[in-house]
């Protein structure tokens, strides 16, 4: 893990005493050191060990996209990954989802290496990836149908999860009839309905207007604390990351490396407008700025968009 980890917990940065989890029942990630000597070493829910990814560009040169990423995410933890565009943060999620193989290193779920996609890790995409040929209800049922869960049970669960995202009335609607925010809520319901341990969220709210996004932040926070899922949330918006995450992981610009980690120990529920959130975000932003500058420089130099990520698909 990164050496220059910082802690942002209040108006004045206070070092975290790693022996005492700062709040509640949730384990503070920093405290999961080995100080307890043995009895209850927790296996991380998601463990990334030395993940590297390189690919050939169209010009034929090899490009290193991810460089020895090491990250441990603990059960029930909400981790946000931020970084400038082109740092490979979305690609990292695709690797965890098993949708794309890494060049080297391992993705471990409960200590077991990932072999391809699995319904224990469900991805929520920025443009939601809902199926327009199915109704809202059928979309939510889809993962359960693939698992072979019988129809009656599927219907029951589908209605439960639609209720959870406040869309019970839209069961029979088609996707194009919903607003952007509603679509993301369907995507969340669809993901939750397969009862995954880990939700992988790839800038899910980036295309939404500010009010809708605020609302969805609240809903996501509520759903997360109700269901106890582990969430890895990728965003380029530092405020959003600090508002949602237990921890913010900052990636560098190409190749993507873990630059630093910021535990966020602000009380929940939080709000984007909280001054503490703003302040905590500033510390992250200061570090992010260097990376963003590098990304912009590269953009000007090459005259191409920097976030040319490898074609993640079969």
């Amino acid at each position: 893990m990164s050496t220059n980890a910082q802690t942002v917990s209040s108006a004045y940065p206070v070092p975290v005493d790693s022996r005492f989890p700062a709040r509640g029942t949730r384990l503070d990630p920093v405290s999961v050191g080995l100080e307890d000597h043995g009895t209850s070493i927790q296996i991380p829910k998601v463990g990334l060990t030395n993940i590297c990814l390189s690919y050939k560009t169209q010009a034929g040169e090899r490009l290193l996209a991810l460089d020895h990423i090491n990250l441990q995410v603990h059960p029930g933890e909400f981790v946000c990954i931020v970084g400038p565009s082109g740092c490979g943060k979305s690609t990292l999620l695709h690797l965890i989802a098993g949708l794309h193989p890494q060049t080297s290193g391992q993705v471990l779920i409960d200590g077991t290496p990932v072999q391809g996609p699995g319904t224990d890790r469900i991805m929520i995409f920025q443009d939601h990836g809902l199926f327009p040929w199915l109704t809202v209800g059928e979309n939510v049922e889809f993962g359960m149908k693939m698992k072979g869960i019988p129809k009656t049970e599927r219907l029951e669960k589908m209605r439960y999860y639609l209720q959870l995202v406040h869309l019970a009335k839209f069961e029979k609607s088609y996707i194009h009839q919903l607003s952007g925010g509603m679509r993301q809520r369907v995507a969340i319901a669809r993901a939750l309905a397969t009862e995954p341990d880990v939700l992988l969220m790839d800038e899910p709210f980036a295309a939404l207007d500010a009010q809708t996004r605020d609302l969805l932040h609240d809903e996501l926070e509520r759903i997360w604390s109700d269901t106890g899922r582990t969430i890895i949330f990728v965003t380029h918006n530092v405020r959003e990351a600090v508002r949602l995450g237990d921890r913010v992981v900052l990636l560098t610009f190409r190749p993507g490396r873990v630059k630093s980690e910021f535990p966020v120990e602000l009380r929940r529920p939080r709000s984007l407008e909280d001054p503490e959130v703003a302040l905590a975000a500033r510390a992250v932003l200061d570090e992010l700025r260097d990376e963003t500058n590098r990304s912009l420089e590269a953009e000007y130099r090459n005259g191409i968009k920097p976030h040319v990520e490898p074609g993640v698909e079969s």
Binding site: A97, L99, P117, T119, D127, P132, W133, M146, I175
Partner: protein
Amino acid sequence: MKRTARYIIFYAALFGLWTLLAELKIWPPYLFPSPGGVAEALYSGFSDHTYWIAIRVSLQRVLIGYGISVVLGMILGLGVASNKFLEETVGGLLVSLQSLPSICWWPLALLWFGLNQNAILFVVIMGSLLSVTLAMEDGRKQMPKIFGQAGRNLGAKGFKLFWYVLLPASLPFIVSGLKQGWAFAWRSLITAEMLYLSLGLGQVLMMGRDLNDMSAVIAVMLLIIAIGYIVDGVVFKGMERHLQNKWGLTPAT
């Protein structure tokens, strides 16, 4: 309403012109049949069941042939779209084969399958397979990648991924290709039937020629057009409308 009126006026004028030319008797009736003669031919053809049988036989053949084309074409198209090597080799071959009228396969089909229904089916398949394949290939490429990713992510793989995700996701992109494939299949069928005693509409048309009965020839031509048009208008238009409603696409008018 205006559109309907225009249709009526146009077809009434066309019909009037036909009647007028036939009445003027510029050409003898066996060269230029009158509307009445054609109507009579239609009536007698239907009442002695010749046309019913011919329609049933032809539809059956085209359904089998086209059905095989669709299944094969989808598999081929998917294969070509997902493999660079196949795309460069087979893909190019398919495009060049498309310039070949399917009836050119007739002599070979006769040798391979003998003078029977299978030879006709082969020509029908060769007529429509390429359109379906190219449409599927194109549809698979145009289809947003995210559907495949989301499907795999939610646990769909292998045949389930194809059936529940890739196929429905690519339908809006392949429906015009499927339609074109149908048109080619229908045309190939009639052509092949004209070359061989076969009970189908094509044979009935040739029978009209052999008896020098141009009214019957035109009657069968009208039937061929009508069936092609009905399938296009009912099956494919319906499918397009259905997709547009679901996907929220604006109908192309």
